[in-house]
């Protein structure tokens, strides 16, 4: 990893001051800050990042997922946050196991996460605990399997 730790970043300092055990790993690469959180801390951290003075990440740009099969933990979910008033960005990351990947939803904090999380559920099979309406968004409702997983054949299962 070429990323270097970023413990001196003011965003990190604010989060650490709020809860010292919240962030597992920090890294900064070309001015982009990434925070790795334990999955069970995500919902609380989201509320803090959205509301706390000096953070104010009021815009969730994107949620993306990565399948690192066969490495364990297999899945990685990235939350790209933007603070419109303070003009700063941060990336949250949680690592999830291949067996029953589940993470708490951030829809109560950022409502735009609704469709993002449905898309990740649709294509990766990662469940979002507490999501108001978690079902497929792109694939047909009766589709079997999660097509963007690395162990899913590109051509699908044809009969």
């Amino acid at each position: 990893m070429t990323d270097k730790p970023a413990d001196e970043n003011p965003i990190i300092k604010k989060l650490r001051a709020w809860d010292g055990k919240m962030i597992a790993v920090t890294s900064e690469f070309r001015g982009e800050l990434s925070l790795v959180l334990p999955p069970e801390q995500l919902a609380r951290a989201a509320q803090c990042l959205r509301a706390a003075p000096g953070l104010q990440f009021d815009f969730l740009s994107d949620i993306s997922a990565v399948d690192r099969f066969p490495i364990e933990p297999r899945f990685e979910v990235n939350y790209h946050l933007l603070s419109i008033p303070l003009r700063q960005t941060v990336r949250l990351r949680v690592w999830l196991p291949g067996q029953d990947p589940v993470v708490s939803t951030v829809v109560p904090v950022w409502p735009t996460a609704n469709w993002h999380e449905r898309e990740i559920f649709d294509l990766f099979g990662i469940r979002f605990d507490g999501h108001p309406d978690l079902h497929r968004i792109l694939m047909p409702d009766d589709w079997e399997g999660y097509p963007l997983r690395k162990d899913y054949p590109v051509e699908g299962f044809r009969t």
């Binding site: 047909p140 097509p147 051509e155 699908g156 299962f157």
Partner: protein
């Protein structure tokens, strides 16, 4: 006998019912507005003044399958779109025809993927396939002329689907196709 006397002798023509019906059907094909991907852009371009599909009598694109008799499948058919396409096809009134425009709708094209139907002929009967990615408007016009030739062979005694499935028509079509055939290859 008054005004009607001696009026009709010069105005009658003798023909067969098949000929008149086929002539009417092939000369005014009403396609369905059914663009799925980039082939739709070429289909739209073929309606414009530069290419002008109206020269072949097929310029009236209808937004409703009830009013159309030709479905031009112009673009990639995904598995999610497949049931919709089949339903639109079944909503069209007989006699109806189908042109598969481009590589995607004919065989899946470059999208050999889990989400793409590998050929629209798996769900609807196709009369004419157009090669190209996407085909030029001239390609679509050639398909339209081929379809008109096919409509000419229809008969009231047979349903259009039976005409479509005659094996000798396929053989005749293969003889008619000349793809990259040079008389004296170097």
């Amino acid at each position: 006998m008054g005004v009607l006397d001696q009026r009709f002798e010069k105005n009658f023509m003798i023909s067969s019912v098949d000929y008149v019906f086929n002539w009417a059907r092939k000369s005014a094909i009403w396609p369905l507005t059914f663009g799925l991907a980039c082939c739709a852009i070429e289909m739209i371009a073929s309606t414009t003044a530069r290419f002008d599909i109206a020269r072949f009598g097929a310029e009236v694109f209808r937004p409703s399958p009830r009013q159309a008799d030709l479905m031009i499948v112009a673009g990639t058919v995904t598995l999610k779109m497949g049931p919709v396409l089949k339903r639109v096809w079944e909503q069209m009134a007989d006699p109806k025809w189908c042109i598969s425009m481009g590589a995607c709708s004919s065989v899946g094209g470059p999208f050999n993927a889990y989400s793409v139907l590998q050929g629209v002929d798996r769900i609807v009967p196709v009369d004419v396939y157009v090669v190209g990615c996407p085909p030029r408007p001239e390609g679509l016009f050639y398909a339209l002329l081929k379809l008109q030739d096919k409509i000419e062979q229809m008969s009231l005694a047979k349903r259009p689907t039976e005409v479509r499935l005659q094996p000798e028509m396929v053989e005749q079509f293969k003889r008619g196709v000349m793809v990259a055939q040079t008389p004296s290859p170097r």
